[in-house]
């Protein structure tokens, strides 16, 4: 398959692995920010092929995982109301809130639909004018433009029965939070290529400068990751910092300006609580005032909800790269994909699920 197989060659992979082994003279810890990258690493076996000097830790880049318990509880509360259809990406359905998850709400009769695009949720709102259609808008800057587009279209068409429960998060503040944590061990980042496809990488430059850390914008195929790792290790060995772009076939420094304009029109930046990590300043997006009629939190009374997190789940440490999934006492014991305690065990981008699915059980 074009644009895929070229980035999965065995001989080329071998060459990069050799180059990484030759380059790394000291132990380095790299964080791949995006959960999609985590899955490629584990699925293709790269994590087992790297030299011992290079350790990868998995970052917070799984939008499902970092969505707060409070927002999941709100989604469940909203969909239990008569006349509501909640449309969501499939991954969100099994993430536990304080008590239930959306799947069990569905089993109990709530109308929860799986969609693959916010525009499908918009179509549901058109099809059911007598129902309240709420889209659970989860994601990083990658999905924000499509969600902005759905709200913008709803506003233009006067679809007052369409709203979003906005759980959007931004990557750079999360990287800043990781770097500023006292127990941070990350020497360099592989930045999330698809987030940068939208946003470009200008906003990472001050971050790299301030923390003197190499940041390599990296793609998602095995060869992308190997090349990204090589670039990061080379920069570390040479004592360089700054932003490099491995994913140049998709990402430009400025990103997608039209998408950014639309996002800026529809969303504004707010502080946001990340599951397992806590509140990170300026790390979230919410709808601007003119679009507030499409904001589910404004339409439904949800502010009374008081969330509770499982005491056994150490997802926060996993998401910050401080703890490996397999080092969590609950991993493969109290916590499995069938009975997840925390979101990283659920989502297809979650680090715990990746370890579980690809046989990293010790």
């Amino acid at each position: 398959m074009r644009y895929v197989d070229e980035y999965r060659g065995e001989a080329e992979s071998r060459r990069y692995l050799d180059a990484i082994a030759r380059t790394a003279t000291r132990p380095w810890m790299l964080m791949e920010v995006c959960g999609g990258q985590t899955h490629t690493l584990v699925r293709s076996g790269i994590d087992r092929m790297l030299p011992e000097t290079v350790t990868l830790v998995h970052g917070p880049g799984c939008p499902v995982c970092v969505t707060s318990v409070e927002l999941i509880d709100q989604a469940i509360e909203i969909v239990r109301r008569p006349g509501v259809i909640l449309a969501s990406f499939g991954d969100m359905l099994r993430v536990p809130g304080s008590g239930d998850d959306l799947l069990s709400a569905r089993s109990a009769g709530a109308d929860v639909r799986i969609v693959y695009s916010p525009l499908d949720a918009l179509a549901l709102a058109r099809k059911h004018p007598d129902r309240d259609v709420v889209f659970f808008a989860v994601g990083f800057e990658t999905t924000a433009p499509a969600n902005a587009m759905a709200v913008w279209q709803a506003a233009r068409a006067g679809l007052r029965n369409f709203s979003i429960l906005c759980a959007h998060v931004r990557v750079p503040p999360a990287m800043e939070a990781i770097l500023s944590a006292p127990d941070n061990r990350v020497d360099a980042f592989l930045a999330a290529g698809h987030v940068c496809a939208v946003m470009g990488y200008r906003e990472y430059e001050p971050l790299a400068e301030r923390w003197r850390v190499p940041i390599v914008v990296t793609g998602f195929e095995p060869l992308d990751l190997l090349q990204g790792i090589h670039m990061a290790v080379r920069a570390l060995e040479q004592g360089r910092w700054g932003v490099e772009n491995q994913y140049a076939r998709v990402v430009s420094r400025d990103g997608n300006r039209r998408a950014q304009t639309l996002m800026g029109d529809v969303f504004e930046v707010v502080d946001r609580a990340w599951r397992g990590i806590g509140e990170i300043p300026a790390s979230g997006l919410r709808l601007r005032e003119p679009y507030r009629v499409h904001d589910a939190q404004a339409r439904f009374p949800v502010s009374h909800i008081r969330p509770r997190e499982s005491a056994d789940c150490r997802a926060g440490q996993v998401l910050r790269g401080v703890l490996r999934p397999t080092d969590c006492p609950a991993f493969d014991a109290a916590c499995t994909p069938e009975h997840p305690l925390g979101a990283p065990m659920v989502s297809s981008e979650g680090a715990c699920a990746a370890y579980y699915r690809y046989g990293k059980r010790s």
């Binding site: 895929v4 060659g9 076996g45 087992r48 095995p222 046989g359």
Partner: protein, 386 residues
């Protein structure tokens, strides 16, 4: 998407029920009275017409000769395998043949999908379960649970499709049942089929027979059914020409058994949960290690593209017309050639081997040469694939 708006439009004879009077199925159609009788006599009997069924007794009574004929069919190379040529004698049954029974319920959504419908799927699914036991099919039963208000034309389409699938396999539907549940208490139509078959003497396929060194053969492209269904599911529609691979694997399995005989150790059709779940189950129950080569897996470009897009692993996606055969290495090439000589196995390939690790784990070698351990599908991939 509605049940009737599909790419595979029914073009057969019209429904024999006077649909002007009964455009939809009524509760009374399942109440045992005159409407029930009309449904059976006008719609079901003509579709599945055979001596055992037309008695309309409480159960079907089958002639012992039918079982003997199936049992007498040889599974060894070089001997006649045509059931009609075999001598129907009790000796065949006494010589180590065994009965095989399997049952399966079908709750697929949508009911009509590219490449098939719930009717053909319900027949193929049960025939294939028999085939994976090494059994020759003798008879099928069909139970329909219909939701009140279900379109009579759609019921006719489904029944016609079942008839065609059963007739193609030469297997009679000998008894059945029809129930109607109140509107809102079902999801259109559920079908249960049970299959009865005979495993001839000398055929012994079971996971316990997987041995180190055995070849793992796959009869063709994987993940086609699951992606075809997904492409038409409400909320997930995407444009594709994919059609379900739903098919009767009986003839292919007969060819495998004729060629391989006792060298055929395990047969499995990787339906729900895909190839991954099927292999993990076999590895686990046989305590056998497996090594798969991901590059050898036949995944059509359209399926790969859709899987990449939706974040699915083709190894976890359902198939309805594919067969895994685990066979002794001495006969693997002959069996592979035999599979390829049959239309259902034209793209058969060697995808891996049983290793001597005996740890019950399936290891996949990735395209870049890394290794990972394959896990069965956990939780639901999407609601109700089949």
């Amino acid at each position: 998407m509605t049940a009737t708006a599909t790419t595979t439009r029914y073009a057969g004879p019209a429904c024999p029920i006077p649909t002007a009077d009964y455009p939809t199925v009524q509760l009374a159609h399942g109440a045992g009275g005159s409407l029930s009788r009309m449904l059976v006599e006008k719609l079901l009997l003509p579709a599945f017409d055979n001596p055992a069924l037309s008695v309309l007794h409480d159960g079907a009574v089958l002639a012992a000769e039918d079982l003997c004929a199936a049992a007498g069919a040889s599974a060894s190379p070089g001997r006649s395998t045509d059931a009609s040529m075999a001598t129907p004698s009790m000796a065949a049954l006494r010589g180590g043949a065994r009965l095989a029974v399997t049952t399966d319920s079908f709750v697929v959504k949508p009911l009509f999908f590219p490449g098939g419908d719930i009717g053909s799927l319900a027949v193929h699914g049960t025939l294939n379960d028999l085939a994976m036991c090494g059994a020759r099919p003798v008879a099928l039963t069909v139970a329909l649970i219909i939701e009140e208000g279900f379109a009579m034309d759609d019921l006719w389409r489904v029944v016609t499709s079942m008839r065609a699938a059963a007739a193609a396999a030469g297997v009679p539907v000998v008894t059945g049942d029809t129930k109607v549940v109140e509107r809102g208490k079902g999801d259109g139509l559920f079908i249960n089929t049970t299959g009865l078959g005979v495993v001839p003497a000398g055929v012994d396929v079971t996971p316990a027979r997987a041995r180190p060194g055995d070849a793992i053969l796959l009869s063709g492209a994987i993940a086609v059914h699951g992606m075809a269904i997904m492409s038409v599911r409400e909320g997930l529609e995407f444009e594709t020409r994919l059609e379900s691979d739903s098919a009767d694997l009986g003839p292919l399995v007969q060819r495998i058994l004729e060629t391989g005989g006792e060298a055929v150790h395990v047969l499995r059709d990787p339906t729900r949960g895909g190839v991954a779940s099927a292999l993990c189950e076999i590895a686990d129950s046989a305590r056998a290690g497996m090594l798969l080569d991901e590059r050898a897996l036949p995944v059509p470009p359209e399926v790969r593209g859709a899987c990449e897009l939706l974040g699915l692993d083709p190894l976890h996606v359902a198939n309805e017309g594919k067969c895994i055969a685990i066979v002794a290495p001495e006969r693997e090439q002959a069996i592979l050639d035999a599979m390829r000589s049959h239309p259902s196995g034209a793209q058969a390939v060697l995808v891996g081997r049983i290793t001597d690790r005996r740890d019950g784990r399936v290891v996949v070698r990735s395209p870049i040469g890394g290794e990972r351990i394959l896990e069965p599908l956990s939780g639901e991939q999407l609601p109700r694939i089949c």
